[in-house]
Symmetry: C2
Subunit: 336 residues, 2 copies
Amino acid sequence: MVDRIKTVTIKDVAKHANVSVGTVSRVLAKNATVKQPLLIRVNKSIELLGYKPNLAARALRANKDDVLGLVLPDITNPFFAQVAKEIELEAARHGLAVILASSFDDHEKEARQVRAILDRSPTGIIVIPSTDSLSFELPETIPIITIDRPVSNVHEGVFADQELGAALAADHVFELGHRNIVYIAGPKDTIVSEQRKQGFSARIKELCKGDPAFKLSVHHGLFDYEAGEKVARLVLENNSGSRPTAIVAASDQQAIGALREARDIGVIVPTELSIVGFDDIALANIVVPRLTTIRQPIEALAKTAVKRIIDPNSNEADLDLTCNLIVRTSTTKAPQ
Amino acid sequence: MVDRIKTVTIKDVAKHANVSVGTVSRVLAKNATVKQPLLIRVNKSIELLGYKPNLAARALRANKDDVLGLVLPDITNPFFAQVAKEIELEAARHGLAVILASSFDDHEKEARQVRAILDRSPTGIIVIPSTDSLSFELPETIPIITIDRPVSNVHEGVFADQELGAALAADHVFELGHRNIVYIAGPKDTIVSEQRKQGFSARIKELCKGDPAFKLSVHHGLFDYEAGEKVARLVLENNSGSRPTAIVAASDQQAIGALREARDIGVIVPTELSIVGFDDIALANIVVPRLTTIRQPIEALAKTAVKRIIDPNSNEADLDLTCNLIVRTSTTKAPQ
């Protein structure tokens, strides 16, 4: 009987060196971003195990594990589509294909989608969560990263500072003199919606403290066009006396829906009503009038998430994940 | 020495019965859509080979082959995002996960993406092609279907009748009295762009034959917002004397870009200028004014493509793939 020689794989090396497959792969590719101590450790494991990268290359190529799962609420939401595009671009740079699955904001469907992808032993999964916690047990061996929206039971998340972003919108409408303001929040069960609402309302209340004319009314809805239309209809139609002069929304889609509705009702934006969005999707710069909004760092979010999947132990500095105010023509001074 | 018993798989059954794995799977699921002769053939193979569906179920579940590749130009194009969503929904109904890859309208990248997915032995690949032919050798064993845009070297394509759809736009602007018309076509190297252009210009010329006032000018650009803005700027700014009264575009994105530009220049839509799009993306019903467009049967396109992947031999009747004119408020009678 002849001993069968087991081929040493890149995974064996990764396990031996206690690093991710991505790190070994970067060492093999002589990628300069690998830190010196890691480099030494990986090379030592390669030597000890007798790993032959050239022989293993074909096996690696045929390995179907090099996929990255991406679970998001709905690809037809332009913000998620932009995030997906950036994730795909970044994953491709690391030789990973992207498996896309939609949760349609359904908690159970989200759990099923994640489990189905886990069955394929992916390199990792990036989730844009549908609600504030993931309703499945988190695997120990496969990294799961949430992006854009934090959830309560996953520590590894990549997101911009939503409260700070929303506070920028508060600063902007306050400086323009708006004191009768409607805020359109997202669904109540998403942390990201609560954070934006909190960031906006805390700042605007602080700024307007003691002003007897100050009025803030908050409404909730989905992050879509329809929610924006609905809230705008409600607050513009039945409010001819004390009509708000500014609508600040938790998403660009809501803001664009509000623009649409204002037009239908005959309220002129921005002279009679200023509107602010959140995200800065491509469309924000196309609608009439162009939308003032809070820009999320979409590319940096995507790159950082993929980086963490590939090398969970990386302690490279994160990219800049700050939100910025982009002033366009949907906002102006409050009418006298 | 003991003979090892090879487990009979669903693939063996499919091969033996000369049908697709999807058909066997539908027979096993007692799906009523399988035709009687096929049903008998598959059941006979199951019996002859001694296939045990229950025993094989676990193996099937762990099989990483059950993925469907989807290669499209750019997921941030709202039309493609809607197609991707419908494909994902339909694929999920058949237990298939979707691997998404973008070509960014790059011929070579498209070929690389398809080859990378082929390496994973997918059930099939759906391609929305970047140009008029696919620059890779087509595999014999894995079905590749093009959707939306026909290409010259793939016979299996699923698309609506683009010429007929564009002719509906011609009928509409003609009936409204427009005789000075600008047509925005897509890129010259895509068949879909040529078909729409051909369908529109042939019909409008036929309708306006002999009318000395008739004028049609055709411009080419990408299918995006920017192309629409650019062409609109060109034809509206330098044409104060003989300004067109209608712009008909090969995509909603172009039409929405033209809307944007008309607004900037101060040309009022629809009283001074009618605008027609193509596709009927969700946004068409949100922009101001709401866009008259040619609706593509997105859901039927997606369902038909997935069906053909799963069961290439299916001769079920295709779903209705007709385009329809959707009249909204971006078109009206030509100014006198």
